[in-house]
Amino acid sequence: MTTEDRPALSIVVTGRNDDYGRDFTARFIRTLAFNHHALTERGVTHEVVLVEWNPVAGKPFLTDIIRDALPHIAQTTLRSLIVDAAYQSACTQNPKLNFLEYLAKNVGVRRSHGDFVLATNTDIFFSRGLAQRLARSDLKVGTVYRAKRVDVKLGVDESRIGWDVLEESSNHVPRGEISPPLYQGAAGDFMLLDRESFHAVKGFNEVYRLARLAVDHNFLVKAYSHGLPIADIGSPVYHVSHIGSYQLSKNSLSVGQAEALWGARWHNKEVIYDNPETWGLSEAPVRQRDDRTTYLKFDWNAVPKLADLRRVVLPISRTATPAGHRVAPPQTPSDTTPPSP
């Protein structure tokens, strides 16, 4: 892909056709259409990289369902990476977990084409301010951008959701602010970084593969230790609460149930990682299913070591804001579209 063809933004999401958290597919379709519209309207060139991890045997691919539901987006914006289910079994260090979310995200980050890569989730709506900020094309290279997540109350009518509903504060569930230096708090819902820096950090932790919980926070510790400043992008993202979400379920499930879904608590704030060069299953052989869908075939050579202990490391302490701000590369003409009013 040439520099001219490269989109300004790659949006990496993961999922599978397992109805996670109920109405998974419907929620994904809603947010995908919503965010695509918001970005397109403002001239932000983008691609959505869907990583279908551990596809459910005997059920249609999530990719195909999305393509049928949103053909116009599927033909222009969506790129799918279907990862053979055997990778889940081969990679996991916790057989109770059935979805190594951040390994899946790494697959997408590694294969993204955009100047900036946003790792997010399938049920996250962009705010108006966020879409405008992305359209301004003034993001700094070498800075991790975070956005506060605003939870919209459970049971809200999602059939006609728009910014009027999302922005209405009486629909919100109170939630803390994000604050420096790490701006943690639902970080997995919004982690934006230029592709080069994402690759320099080598993605999310795939050395510790026992949990989904707090791997996002661990990435912030890693990035900070790596010398990347972390900043609040200034506008929130919205998440409509649903049954099965971590926020709603963490206090109602038993320890065993919670561990099965997200894994146990671990030393995510104190211990980081140094992923191998083959992070994101870069060695996995591929088969092109069609021009927008790639299938990652299983190969033991692509599987990271089951236990790679020397790659478990301590972060570098930093008392001052890390340096490393650089000026963003020149934007392609399509990126310089002025923001819509």
């Binding site: 916790n94 057989p95 299983f298």
Partner: protein
Amino acid sequence: MPGSWLQAFGLARASHLRSLADQVESAKARTGDLKGQLEKARGEVNHWKTRAEETATRLAAAEQESERWKGKHVGLRAKFEQLATAEQHYTLAREHMLCLETKLDIVEGAIDALDRRTRAVLSTPPALEASEHDD
């Protein structure tokens, strides 16, 4: 001029004598007051002398104490530095312990995963084959 006549004989008028006697009494009374005040002032001087002596004693004691604390301060400072070093060692040790715990978790997880794979292989035909969908 009876006054000047009496004066010529070394005598004074009775009224003059009374006045002089009053003045003498008044002077006596004043002397008494002054004596009283003098006594009071002496008392105060003695009081302040005592206070000054006490203060001097206290000052000497404080100086002694200060010298003692100076000596102690050096010892405490050394102890504080030792404490800071110990704290740093503790932090480092804790970090390494957490790192080791994480590694142990990974080892345990790996053993668990291998155990399941082994059981799967032993109980059924090969389980970890590529499972590509027909599409």
